[in-house]
Point group: C2
Chain length 139, copies 2
């Protein structure tokens, strides 16, 4: 009735690599699943749901430590809602700030790219390096 999946099939359903699932197990995020007689991991429907949930949190780039805590709360029958909300807002802030950093970098790189196009390569007299680091003197 309720079929048991091997790690490769479970991984496919969750959009993860088998090695990632093993890693989550090793690092205490996912519980140890059952085993077949020959020692293969066997995932039941609920297990696969949990893996999918973890995959989803990781796709949102939640730190694995937070994912571990959230999964632990669920396992203990406690509501992870507060922790989830907290992590959502932390993660949103982190991403916001990373986007700002990258946009600054992108702008810098655009300027450098444009300036580099116009510069003849008469190294060591004139060089893109002067554009990249105008303060540095080449040796």
């Amino acid at each position: 009735m309720h079929q048991v999946l091997k790690i490769g099939e479970a991984a496919k359903k969750a959009g993860l690599a088998p090695s990632a699932i093993r890693y989550y197990e090793d690092s205490g995020v996912l519980p140890e699943p059952g085993r077949t007689d020959s020692g293969y991991r066997g995932y039941e429907e609920g297990d696969v749901d949990l893996i999918r949930f973890v995959a989803r949190l990781r796709a949102l780039e939640f730190p694995l430590s937070d994912v571990r805590e959230i999964v632990a709360l669920r396992r203990d029958g406690k509501a992870p809602c507060e922790k989830v909300r907290e992590t959502i807002s932390n993660e949103a802030a982190a991403i916001e700030s990373r986007i700002a950093d990258l946009q600054r970098l992108r702008q810098e790189l655009e300027i450098l790219e444009a300036e580099a196009r116009d510069l003849p390569d008469t190294w060591p007299t004139a060089c893109v390096c002067d554009v990249v680091d105008p303060a540095g003197k080449r040796g």
Copy 2:
């Protein structure tokens, strides 16, 4: 005349940690500097310029392997211009695509944040988890 700086002072001038400079040296990005009688690294003006240049490239998030190649070209008296331009454009593309990813994530998180605000925490009946992973059934 030309003063020699210890690693901490050189690091400060370049906006790096001393440990980062040692790491660049170990990993073949920066050449080994001179040493004082007591074994301290001693950086001359040109050395500091090179460290500053490397710091600048890293601030633009160039991969260290590319920085290593660029520095090697300079050391060999060759124009690193082409490599620099290439790396600028690779890096610009990588950042562009990372920004796009993060903007998608940000949007998702904003939606989740809003939905989570409205949801009562009647675990295990209704929960932020349902919002995060609507397809997953909680156990």
